[in-house]
């Protein structure tokens, strides 16, 4: 049941899925991601930005770059055609300077989901328990507050809901101090599907969807960024 994307990346000797591969994998498991396109130059990038809708995030696509932000490979909140062109040029020159060896195969243009609650959904393999699914508050607060909960995959909808309710982040979701109520059941859905993805692809040794952005009740949740670490089993 291993997905082709994972098999292909392994056959190419890679240890990580590329961004668009990660999004494709998520989509294959029914986990919503913001609309995205792959562009090889700025003209295509502008077209792509208009298709997915502004504002967009632009991310470099390169098999050689592990940490995109360190080499200027991520530009957020791009709002117009002009800005897209400028961002692409900026990114090219920054990467030429900071990572001259890196092969750049193009840009990922992704619609930016606005104004949600950021949470993290992760997965890892444990010697005793097998596949462990983690949930917690997202962003920089994750590690500070350690507001996380864990369950063993495969997990049910009830498991997912109880792991959400176990965290303080849950209070933010149900409308803490006038904050809007978040779409909790769409997050349950993401967690359950992610658990299936981890079970069916044992070559993924670690993964996190960080952040998953939870929108207001009824509007769903989106996995905005995803990291999949793979290794042959």
């Amino acid at each position: 049941m291993v997905h082709d994307i994972v098999a292909k990346a392994l056959s190419e000797g890679r240890f990580k899925l590329l961004d668009y591969e990660a999004y494709e994998l998520l989509e294959a498991y029914g986990i919503p991601t913001p609309g995205y396109r792959v562009a090889s130059n700025y003209e295509e990038a502008i077209k792509a930005a208009n298709e997915v809708g502004y504002p967009v995030a632009i991310k470099v696509i390169s098999p050689d770059i592990m940490h995109k932000t360190d080499v200027g490979g991520v530009i957020l909140n791009v709002n117009s055609d002009d800005e897209v062109k400028r961002a692409c040029e900026e990114m090219n020159s920054s990467i030429k300077r900071l990572a001259p060896y890196a092969r750049v195969s193009g840009f990922l243009i992704q619609h930016m989901v606005q104004g949600g609650l950021e949470v993290i959904v992760g997965g890892l393999r444990d010697r005793i328990f097998g596949t462990v699914i983690l949930f917690g508050i997202g962003g920089i607060l994750t590690e500070l507050y350690k507001d996380t909960s864990m369950r063993i995959a495969p997990i049910t909808e009830d498991d997912a809901l109880s792991m959400i309710k176990e965290t303080k982040a849950y209070q933010l979701m149900i409308g803490y101090r006038g904050m809007p109520r978040r779409d909790i059941y769409s997050l349950v859905d993401v967690i359950v599907k992610f658990s299936r993805l981890m079970i069916e692809n044992p070559q993924i040794s670690e993964a996190d969807l960080n952040p998953v952005i939870m929108l207001e009740n009824g509007k769903g949740s989106y996995a905005v960024d995803a990291r999949f670490i793979i290794k042959p089993t």
Partner: protein, 479 residues
């Protein structure tokens, strides 16, 4: 796919375990006349208490204290159900082979000196494993303290009675990863007359492991609540098996777990102590929640909760009547109850005005209902009878400080009488008088758990609510 594998594994689990707890004849291999030795204590305990046949085995003696002693178990003519092995580790493979040849159904290997001490010991353990492989013979241990069964007096705990008291028969079972902790718990429980009818420690789990014991105890009709003391699982993949087993068992009866080795520092201590690799506590915690295990934070709390789960019906909701003769104790109860997500709802005006007619003017009737220091037994009766049968509350926490002059031992009867409303009740009783001791004992003998402080009573009610959730009588929902 993973689920199928795990349930297939557990479906064969529990076979041949019964004889470990209920043998009809037992051979003590390593019986000895030397007081203080492990073989001596086990022999003496079995000879004096076990309601079955005891056979002594030791090649060095023809008889011990007037009882015939065999050179080898193979020389015994009668059937032997089970062999308890207390000989030095290097001899264990030989006596195991003899026992298998004799046709025993199971062995309890008390002896240490196996995988817990290193490579040499591991080899010995593999040898024993190879001997029982492809036979129906089940092995508990090695390096364990074995089994305590209050019902039939089968007891391999090698600690003399004057050092370790034995608890009375009762509905609580204990599975302990640590032998020493198990012994300490039984001693502690015996002083408190806490009914731990069955206890087992599995040591290095060469064959029988905690999952199988759990499954067995789930099907044992004498057991109402299972408690587990755990430091950490040991082998790859064991976690899933444990999770799948526990998930089934917790639908049958409540299981409470106390996991030691929670912090990084003590996790290290555990690893060197029992050769178990204590896992990351957060993962365990998640797995426990998922399996429907109720987690306790200490040994004492584990049995606080067990006592309630063994005796009380399950609540249909989270609303608690707090009935007290002390405002302070009532407040403490409310504090803990609300922290744990239980509710203490204000009673409706209709009920309040009715109560006011019967209670003294200073009494507070909102909930907590405070019958004050001038309370009499009858006040408690009035409140219980007028509120418990209504749909406003799901359970009761009753504080009865017996120091006040108006209360008499007869209060016990009123509280016991309120059991007919089918709602859980716990009593908080604190103090040191002989009358109070009697009061507590009378309640506990009649299936009403008593706690020394309001927070402990509150936590016991929380466990009942938790178990209602686990049994899906209450459903997980978004608020």
């Amino acid at each position: 796919m993973v689920i199928e594998e795990a349930s297939e594994a557990t479906s064969t689990g529990g076979k041949g375990i019964d004889v470990l707890f209920y043998p009809s004849s037992v051979a003590v291999i390593g019986a000895t006349p030397k007081p203080g030795h492990v073989g001596y204590v086990i022999m003496s305990n079995l000879l004096s208490k076990f309601k079955g046949k005891v056979i002594l085995v030791n090649p060095r003696y023809d008889s011990i204290n007037g009882v015939k002693c065999y050179k080898s178990i193979t020389e015994v003519n009668d059937e032997v159900d089970l062999a308890v092995v207390a000989v030095p580790a290097p001899v264990v493979p030989q006596v195991t082979a003899d026992a298998v040849k004799k046709g025993v159904k199971a062995l309890i290997i008390i002896s240490g000196g196996f995988s817990e001490v290193g490579e040499e010991g591991r080899k010995l353990e593999d040898e024993v494993r190879a001997i029982v492989k492809n036979t129906p013979v089940r092995v508990l241990g090695p390096n364990c303290i074995g089994v305590y069964n209050a019902d039939n007096g089968f007891d391999t705990f090698f600690l003399p009675e004057d050092r370790m008291g034995r608890p009375p028969n009762g509905p609580i079972a204990l599975i302990s990863q640590s032998g020493a902790v198990a012994a300490a718990i039984l001693d502690w429980a015996s002083r408190r007359r806490l009914g731990i009818g069955l206890a087992v420690n599995y040591g290095n789990k060469l064959d029988v492991n905690e999952s199988e014991l759990l499954e067995y105890l789930a099907n044992n009709r004498n057991v109402k609540v299972i408690t587990i003391y755990m430091e950490g699982l040991k082998y790859p993949g064991e976690g899933l098996r444990f999770l799948e087993t526990a998930r089934k068992v917790t639908q049958m009866k409540p299981v409470i777990v106390y996991k030691a080795g929670r912090t990084k520092a003590s996790a290290g201590a555990v690893a060197s102590h029992t050769a178990a690799l204590a896992g990351d506590y957060e993962i365990y915690r998640g797995a426990f929640r998922q399996a429907g295990l109720i987690e306790a934070n200490s040994v004492r709390e584990m049995f606080d909760l067990a006592k309630a789960l063994a005796t009380q019906p399950l609540p249909r909701g989270r609303r608690v009547l707090v009935l007290t003769d002390s405002g302070g104790m009532g407040i403490q109860a409310v504090d803990t109850l609300s922290t744990l997500g239980l509710e203490v709802p204000e009673l409706p005006e209709t009920i309040q005005s009715m109560l006011r007619k019967f209670l003294p003017p200073l009494a507070i009737v909102r909930n907590p209902v405070d019958v004050t220091g001038s309370a009499t037994d009858e006040y408690y009766k009035i409140v219980l009878d007028s509120i418990l049968p209504t749909s406003y509350v799901d359970m009761a926490l009753i504080v009865a400080l017996m120091q006040i002059p108006g209360l008499t031992p007869n209060l016990v009867n009123y509280i016991i009488d309120a059991k007919r409303y089918g709602k859980p009740m716990v009593v908080v009783s604190f103090g040191g008088s002989a009358m109070m001791e009697k009061f507590n004992e009378a309640l506990e003998n009649n299936g009403i758990p008593v706690y020394a402080t309001p927070d402990r009573g509150a936590r016991a009610l929380w466990a009942l609510v938790e178990y209602s959730m686990i049994k899906k009588m209450l459903r997980e929902e978004v608020e």
